[in-house]
Amino acid sequence: MEHFEPVIVAFCCHYCAYTAADMAGSQRLVYPANVKIIRVPCSGKVDSLHIAKAFEKGADGVYVAGCLDGDCHFKNGNDKAARKVAHMRGYLEEIGIEPERLEMVKMSAGMGERFARVATEMTEKIRKLGPSPIKAAAA
């Protein structure tokens, strides 16, 4: 696996992380192209099924990006998302996929710099972990 380029799926809340991504763009901050952004109306909208399917369809890493604590536009969608992520990490472990491949992160709409850093860190972490065990077996 010499030229492994991880596929990262980022579920981004419309009210924070997605806007932060825009901000990063307008500030000309560089972040890896590995991160595929999926806009969601709220991080709480992300379902276990979405996370499972992302991995099944070939993601090497997934993260859910929601608002800062207490700042959810829908009151507590970010907390719900965090619980779902914690639950799904357990499920990934059962399946035999490293739970670190799934993360919950929180940021505000103005944190373009944080968005870029998270995207970079996640990509680098997954790069070190290597391809998801599912892809590795298929290769």
Partner: protein, 222 residues
Amino acid sequence: MITAERKPLDEILSYIKPFKRILLLGCNECVTVCAAGGRKEVGVLASGIQMSMLKNGASIEIREHTLERQCDPEYVEELVPIIDSADAVLSMACGCGVQQLATRFKDKPVFPAVNTKFMGGSDRHGVWTERCQGCGDCLLGVTGGICPIAKCAKQLMNGPCGGSVSGVCEIGDEVECAWHLIWERLKALGLTDQYLEIMPAKDWRAGGGSGPRKIVREDLAE
């Protein structure tokens, strides 16, 4: 409702190991409400099984399907056109549903993907607690609407025992003392005298003590 929880993935995988084509079957009733075996959980499990297989360089054909109700023959009949497309059925319904399938499709292996837990209700989102043990002779009319059979760890009919402290059962912090609750209810209802009546030993025949139970409604049964 009847509550359930998904079995560990390893156990599920051990059941379906010999098969190539699986019908993964959810149920739209109780197990959907308790988020154990509805359409969504079917999807998540199918994905998990698929990933486990892929990880080992294997593959499996999973057909996802969710019935309106797995414990009724009418709905199970829906499976007739598709049942032969699967080598085995993995059911996410409660034990009643699993058995309905096993009875209807005599030569088809059927496996449970959930552990059926208890008859209960929801305390709050994501939390379910036991409320009824189906004793067949409901006592709730004399216990203030709180069941000592289902909710007392010793199913005392004349409680509370000496282990009740500050409303909590001796078995642990999470469990409320059923008899403490009953007493508070009887007080609120002005029925404290009722407490002094000794509840006689129970006839467990109604509760399954005389074998599997059956209800026949003459006016309905064909």
